[in-house]
Structures are given as structure tokens and as C-alpha cells.
Symmetry: C3
Subunit: 139 residues, 3 copies
């Protein structure tokens, strides 16, 4: 069964910390050791893992993406959001994290971010989680 997180974005481009929402989904599964899979069912958004402590990191990431992929650059796609599609494939529509003792295993500075490239919109992140049994270590 797939669970969903709802994300409401408020500007055209944004990175929204969804770590605690993902943790809540994991809590409900009762899985203590496993993998949590995130999937963005949108073509102008993405998911990434990066620093959560300093909000300026998010701004730098979004600005760098917009510098590399400008909003207007003679694109063929006529809906005015070709840049958002391109960013989506660069950052990626999925990310997984490990679950250890019921908690997302993140590095000290890591958070999970929903990336909006063509907002504001109501978005969703699909989530599946599964247990991973301990290694049967060889002698």
C-alpha cells in the first residue's frame, strides 16, 4: 500500500523540508529496520536530501538550478515550464532513506526536501516502506 504526504507550495520554486512528515508515515508502519522509498508523481518537481540546518543552502541550490536552467531559453514546450521539467530530471523524482530503530537514518545535517519547480501548487509525495531483515553474516 502506498501512503501519501501532501505538500502545499507557495512560490514558483521552493524546497520544503518534509523529514518529519516522512517520519510520521514510518511511525505508522511499525517498521524498525528497513528502507523508506519516496516517489514524486509530478513532472515539474523532485525530491532531494541536503542540509536542513541553514536555509541559505536551499536558496543557493534553487538559485544555481535557475542559473543553469533559465526560465526562458527558447524552449519547444509551450506551457512556460520547460525549465521545471528539466530541473526535475536533474534532481530526480525519487529518493530512499534507511530506517534504523524506527527512525530515518540521516547524516547530522541532512533533511529530506520536496523541490517545487513550477508552483505554487498542491503536491503529493508517494511513500512505500519495507522491512529489511538483518544480514545472515557469513563466518
Amino acid at each position: 500500500m502506498t501512503k501519501y504526504i501532501n505538500v502545499k507550495t507557495v512560490s514558483r520554486t521552493d524546497m520544503i523540508d518534509i523529514t518529519s512528515q516522512v517520519q510520521e508515515v514510518i511511525d505508522r508502519t511499525g517498521i524498525t529496520d528497513g528502507i523508506c522509498y519516496l516517489y514524486v508523481p509530478h513532472t515539474t518537481a523532485a525530491v532531494t536530501i541536503n542540509e536542513g540546518a541553514d536555509p541559505s543552502v536551499r536558496r543557493d541550490i534553487m538559485k544555481a538550478l535557475s542559473r543553469l536552467i533559465p526560465r526562458d531559453a527558447g524552449y519547444s514546450h509551450m506551457e512556460g515550464n520547460a525549465d521545471a521539467h528539466i530541473k526535475s530530471s536533474l534532481v530526480g523524482s525519487s529518493a530512499y532513506v534507511f530506517i534504523e530503530k524506527g527512525k530515518i537514518l540521516l547524516g547530522t545535517w541532512q533533511s529530506i526536501f520536496f523541490c517545487e519547480f513550477d508552483g505554487p501548487r498542491h503536491r503529493r509525495v508517494a511513500i512505500k516502506a519495507r522491512a529489511v531483515r538483518a544480514f545472515r553474516s557469513k563466518p
Copy 2:
């Protein structure tokens, strides 16, 4: 066991919709709820998920990548395809999708694409799929 999809590319750079081929592999597994893992065993190709409805999106993605990573830019690698290797690491050699009721769970506009960066070639995409049991929801 790993299954393979064969992809024949016809130009140097291309994005080929492999959604229906992936669905056929899933059909044969009999998995109704799970995860389907795609893996590209090539270093000058990739897999991504993006809009399938308007072919101009694909063209914009490939053009943007070629603008960012030109074919000739004083690379060290002498085989004339350094750009393709770089694009491969930017877009990524793997992608997973969820399986719900036996079908790939995709957003309205999403399709799965094989990305060719150094074609034309005969390529393969390796696929594994596995069932994910329903969450044992906590009270």
C-alpha cells in the same frame, strides 16, 4: 532474477519512452503491490521519469543537457563521449517506480524514459521487481 528490456536508439542523443515495456515485465511477475527497480548497465546512458504527453519536453531536456555539457569542451577522455559520461551521472543510472494493483504508479503526465547520450546503439535496461506487503498499521 533480473529481466532485461532491449532498447535500440537511432541517434546520438534521444529519450525513448519505455513505460509499456516496463509494464509488460511487471505483468509477467504477477506482483500487484511492490516496487520495480530499473538499472542501466551503461556509462553513457541513463533513465529518468518525466512528461510523456508532449514530445517537446524530451527535446528541451536533451537540448538543455547538451548546452550545459557540450560535446567538445577540452575533455581528457579521448573517446569523444566524455559529455555522455557526464550526462549519465547527472541524470542517473537507476530509477524505481511503485506498483499498485499490478500497474506502475505514475503521475498523470509521467512516463519512464531511457536516455541515450552516445548512440545510436543497442542498449539494455535491467529490471528487478519485488512485492511490498501492506503496512501493519499501528493503532
Copy 3:
């Protein structure tokens, strides 16, 4: 249970082949058919799969990334490593590989690389692996 690979990087940016270390972890699990998940718990590093035979490919990838994302570009983040955070989200903090007959299933030229964008540092790669049963092929 999560296993860890230790990686010592010696320069600010580097790509280090960790394929054999990943294979050693898989060997200890006794898994013959499955998936091996890699996860980088750092926000200024990444993991990717690309050509291992010619070291110039690695150099070209790192140089292209540094050309696209210069070290100094008026970033907001004040620690001098905003570029490393941006590269991390472009290349990605995770990658999975398939396990077949106990060995990592890689294309002829593929190796697994730890990408350092803000070294030199002592780094870790977290690893989980799990068996995937054979498809129950439908008639």
C-alpha cells in the same frame, strides 16, 4: 542492519572507486540474488556509477561539475562549500545496484564511485542489502 564503508578522501573534489568495498559487504551478507542500496549520509558528497576503466572520465565529470557550479558565485551559505551542497543534490545521495549470483551486476565499464565535493574528509557510505526472490512468472 546497516553496514558502513569508510572512505578517506585526500583532496577537495574526488571520485573514489568503492566497487570492491561494496562487493565485500555483499559477500558477508550471503545474498545471491537481490539489491544493494548505497546511501551517503553527508550533504557535500554523493555516489554515482560511471566508467571505471579510464580515470580521465572521473576528471572530466568533476571538472564539468566545477565549471557548472563554481566554488565562488555569490552564494548565501557562508561556510564556503555551497557549491558542494549543490553538486550533492545534482549527483544524488544514493544509488542501488543489483546482486546476481552473489556479485554486483555492473555493465562492462561500470564502477561505483564515492563523490567528494568538500574534502579532504573522513566519509562513510551506509549500505543495506536484501534478497529478491525470483519472479513467479505467469503462464
